[in-house]
């Protein structure tokens, strides 16, 4: 190997270039790496020359078409000495060849992350790199991390390398990439940090074999012991142990050999190279090999005391049978070898359940099998409170949506909305029904629901020419814009204060009713105890208001109560809300959310939180209608809380944009040019002249 120590594999100030950097996985990993250590100087991907991967908070990654362009373009002090290959399997050979050809004076190590590279190509890569004196790791390595220098190549440590790896004195060498992380987090419980974590890959041919890595680790001052994760297949361990036997002194090993259950079965394990061929490469054979080298039987919990003195004598290490035995075994080995702990461990290795819902099954279990949720480390604890504790609404999975949609499709014959034929919607349904289908993903269940939404749309059309959104349309007309611009201006002038208050109202209703076991919002009989809900809500509001006032802070007002126009009486009403309520009364319809809002307005006065009964305004009315439709879907986890909360605002915006169009048409026909301009004489300057 060219490298003389583990540091030579990867250290601070190394400069990394990434092949196929615009690929799905490589880009994602490169962004995390760049944020963690910023060691990527550039990448290349055929046909993507000139692009830049923008990373807020870190150095952007410039993309070149070929490696040759990259190496020529970068200044001497930024030319890469480490290469990560993320190319597709059939492109790996070509890319490595290009690196070897053009990067010869600079490149020291190539890490091939790509999986499914053929054995023939793998052998060729090795030969190619040997000839040119370049080290190559892989194929199918996850990469490596130098924890003391806080640098990595590849995806070791996932999205949070700093969280998983604490600097320390153990070097992990693993046939499995994931096990590098897992073992690192186990060892924390022994107070043992990590110097380097190396994923060797486990293809048929491992290009940087264990023997070479152990040799590098022997020379690494920060590494005091090596922890190995070993799978069946190959003779790498045999060679490594032969070499260790020849050394006068060797640092101790802690070893886990996996896969013994498969020794007697003709099954393939997860990695391509984990294939037993002959007796010498089986897990059992490897276990015996290590036990012979250690001159110790496998680690047994409870025997640590005698073991410590034996290990102090042999000074070679020990093997464990179960992965979590690595922790007591590491502690024993450290005591025997007088290796100091790297830090005081935070918590022991134990079962730490995050969410338990055993229900009636718990009654069948002995108490020790019914775990209890304890404190959960941050940020997970808060995230669980936020996402998991709420039983309401769907949490959709995220995926790449660039060319995918749940909302629409077109197979070249029929356009569809959530799988429903658009043509059939045209023939058999109203616009509002089709619109609700497209917003909810499910057809409305009750005929009156679409009538109520239609009334909401009408109510949203206008509230006179003085409203901000109407002014937006008029300004656009006065400026000579086209209708679409006027419509956008209308939408651009509604926001969280004007029109968007419905979202806050929806969130309030969800908060209030979430734990109430409400399932049917149209059933008066099954409605929860509204007086109690209202009373509690007002008490909470008053408390918050008082605390905020004492602190001289703004407080969150109850959304959608009151109106700047309809506020002159002791008991006030918004006529648009009245129209909806009257219709529902005529149809003998009940909506628990309307009921709640009306009681809330009165209770606020009762508890002297207000001086009058504020109008339940049109935003509240729209919210109550839409929440009535959305609630059963939320209870059944069919739609997300976010979607339900957006529905009132969407309804208002859709109605108002039609109203804005009307203002635009009117103003464009009858207005004069620039008539929305405020005369200079009416404009006031609030500063002081400076010249």
């Amino acid at each position: 190997m060219k490298a003389l120590s583990l540091e030579n594999l990867l250290k601070k100030d190394d400069r990394v270039a990434v092949s196929n950097v615009t690929g799905r996985e490589s880009m994602k990993v490169s962004v995390v790496s760049q944020l963690y250590c910023g060691n990527i100087v550039g990448g290349w991907a055929l046909g993507k020359s000139g692009q830049t991967i923008s990373i807020p908070g870190a150095q952007d990654i410039e993309v070149f078409g070929q490696f040759e362009d990259l190496i020529n373009a970068l200044p001497e002090d930024r030319k890469p000495n480490k290469i990560i290959v993320y190319s597709p399997p059939d492109a790996v050979y070509g890319d490595v060849k290009e690196v070897v050809e053009h990067g010869k004076p600079y490149v020291e190590t190539i890490f091939v992350i790509t999986e499914h590279v053929s054995v023939e190509v793998t052998a060729k890569l090795k030969r190619l790199c040997d000839i040119e004196g370049i080290d190559i790791v892989g194929c199918n390595t996850l990469g490596t991390i130098n924890v003391h220098d806080a640098v990595r190549v590849g995806a070791v440590g996932g999205e949070t390398p700093a969280e998983t790896f604490k600097p320390g004195s153990a070097c992990i060498i693993s046939n499995s990439g994931n096990m590098v992380n897992t073992i690192a987090s186990y060892l924390r419980s022994a107070g043992l940090g990590i110097s380097h974590g190396i994923s060797t890959g486990k293809d048929i041919l491992i290009l940087t074999p264990l023997r070479d890595l152990l040799e590098l680790a022997q020379r690494d001052d920060r590494t005091k012991m090596m922890v190995l994760y070993v799978e069946p297949g190959g003779t790498y361990e045999q060679e490594a142990l032969q070499w260790l036997q020849e050394q006068e002194t060797a640092k101790p090993l802690l070893v886990y050999v996996a896969g013994s259950f498969a020794d007697s079965m003709d099954i393939s394990l997860g990695h391509a190279g984990a294939v037993v061929e002959g007796n010498v490469t089986s897990a059992a054979a490897k276990m015996a090999l290590f036990d012979d080298y250690f001159a110790q039987p496998v680690f047994e919990v409870g025997e640590q005391k005698e073991l410590t003195s034996r290990l102090a004598e042999t000074r070679k290490g020990i093997r464990v049978n179960t992965l979590h035995d690595l922790v007591p075994a590491a502690a024993t080995l450290m005591a025997a070898m007088e290796i100091e702990r790297d830090f005081i461990p935070k918590s022991p290795l134990s079962l730490k359940p995050w969410i338990v819902g055993l229900g009636e099954f718990a009654q069948r279990l002995p108490p020790e099998l019914v775990p209890h949720v304890g404190p959960i480390d941050e940020p997970y604890g808060s995230l669980i409170k936020q996402h998991v504790k709420s039983g309401l609404g769907r949490t959709p999975a995220r995926q790449n949506m660039r060319n995918a949609s749940h909302a629409s499709s077109n197979d070249g014959i029929t356009p569809r909305v959530f799988g429903y034929s658009l043509v059939r919607q045209m023939e058999e349904h109203s616009f509002v029904e089709a619109m609700l289908l497209s917003w909810l993903g499910f057809p409305v269940q009750e005929a009156f629901e679409s009538k109520l939404v239609e009334m909401c749309l009408i109510a949203s059309l206008t509230n006179g020419p003085g409203t901000i959104s109407a002014l937006g349309a008029k300004l656009s007309a006065a400026a000579g814009n086209d209708p679409n611009t006027a419509m956008m201006t209308t939408l651009g002038t509604i926001g969280t204060i004007h029109g968007g208050n419905g979202r806050k109202a929806a969130k309030m209703l969800i908060d209030v009713f979430e734990g109430s076991e409400l399932t049917d919002p149209y059933s008066r009989e099954n409605a929860p105890d509204l007086d109690e809900l209202v009373r509690r809500h007002v008490v909470k509001f008053k408390k918050t208001k008082r605390a905020a006032k004492e602190a001289g802070m703004e407080y969150a007002k109850i959304p959608c109560l009151g109106h700047p126009v309809f506020n002159t009486e002791r008991v006030n009403y918004d006529p648009r809300e009245r129209a909806l309520t009257a219709y529902m009364d005529r149809q003998e319809l009940y909506n628990v959310f309307f009921d709640f809002y009306h009681r809330l307005a009165r209770e606020l006065l009762n508890q002297q939180a207000t001086t009058k009964v504020h109008a339940v305004n049109v935003d509240a009315a729209i919210t109550c209608v839409l929440m009535g439709i959305a609630w059963p879907l939320l209870v059944d986890n069919k739609i997300s809380v976010q979607r339900a909360a957006d529905l009132p605002f969407l309804t208002f915006a859709l109605g108002r944009v039609a109203g804005g169009a009307s203002e635009y048409l009117d103003h464009r026909e009858s207005g004069t040019a620039m008539d929305m301009r405020i005369p200079v004489s009416e404009c006031r300057f609030l500063g002081r002249r400076q010249d």
């Binding site: 996985e25 990993v29 590279v117 053929s118 054995v119 023939e120 052998a123 995806a155 440590g157 996932g158 999205e159 693993s174 499995s176 990439g177 994931n178 096990m179 897992t182 186990y186 048929i204 491992i206 297949g233 790498y236 060679e239 996996a258 259950f261 498969a262 079965m265 099954i267 393939s268 394990l269 997860g270 990695h271 391509a272 984990a274 049978n321 179960t322 992965l323 979590h324 918590s347 134990s350 079962l351 730490k352 359940p353 969410i355 338990v356 819902g357 055993l358 229900g359 009636e360 997970y380 669980i384 996402h387 998991v388 039983g391 949490t395 959709p396 999975a397 995220r398 995926q399 790449n400």
Partner: protein, 413 residues
Amino acid sequence: MNVKIGELSFLEQLAGRFKIPVPDFVVEPVAQSVVRTKLDQWESGIVKPDVLIGKRGKAGVIRTVTDYHIAVRMLKQVAATEVSEQQPRTAYMVQAVPADLEVFSAITYNSRLCGPSLTLSLSGGVDIEAVADSEKETVSVQIFRGLNAYQASEALTKLGLEGQVNAKLARCLVSQWDMFISTGMFSCEINPWRVTRSGEVYACDFKASFDENNRKARDLGIQWPEYPSDESTFEEEMRAWSAASYRGQAHVSELGGRKILPMLFGGGASTIIVETLAQLGGDPIFLSDFGGNPPYERMKTTAAICFKHCLQRAALLLILGGKANNTQIDVTFAAIADALQEWSDENGPVSIPVVIGRGGPGLVQGFAYMKKTLDNIGMPYVFFGPDTPITMVAAYATELAEYSLEAKGGDGP
């Protein structure tokens, strides 16, 4: 899975193409008259089953025949006789090659040499594992230059073979290398080469496996025969589904267990978890690896296949993996949850416990989604985060499965 072939495929498809001398042969079904003519020419023939099992001779299914009546009967009989519980595809008869010398040759990729190597032995016809190292000769083959006749000849000389035989065998070994490298093989063994008294060389038995990742093996243009396998319908369906895409792993191997249905993530983690389950009596139904960041649709179908074949008989569903580097947990968990919901919609409620342990991107959202589905279906559950070791989760699941089995009416703890 790497494609494997035996002698008959070699005789029919490869020997002629790479000019490797082989004895004449006929394949069942074959006309009686043809068998008669061949045996008249050959004097004796050897009837063999076409099956991918080694040590056929020891199994007593290789018969030497001289009489054509017997040959015809034997061809039919051997074709219908199982070898180590494997049904042969057919039977065939090759010309018997009387020889004084048998040579073993194998070309394979050698992890010690990090490249291809040729192994030779004069103890042909026996299991190479049984041959002492001192009687074998292994030479490294330079991957770019390949095996040349000089190198092959030198290796044969070391084994004591000289003269014409050495030269002829060396040429044959070069042909074997040409075949190996041109077809994207992973390993190829001719055992034995038989050398007649007159110095003629014949390849008299053969086995090889192709590297599924090698484009040359995929582009050969040869439809290899499908051998009856002992794969279960579950493994077969998953293998076909796995081959449909490289995006995300979809690998299962049945282990014959009946307690825990383990949906596992990560090559290393899955091995460790199954090992722990097996050690502690968790009796896992299969070994699986569903890591590699599968997209939603990929994961959902993978889960649906597992549930279709195994959920009914399982006492516990275990969804377990380490702290993922790339795999989006919210995507994979949503897919598994949706597949579980659909299975339960179609097959009725299932109430076995679910034990989950995972870490990685989108973890909490994934947990939230899964919890809702399990609440919907009414399955009891315990979720662990990445701060609990996977082996401890596996041990806990094993204990829980005992009680679940009891609840299902099986043997309890």
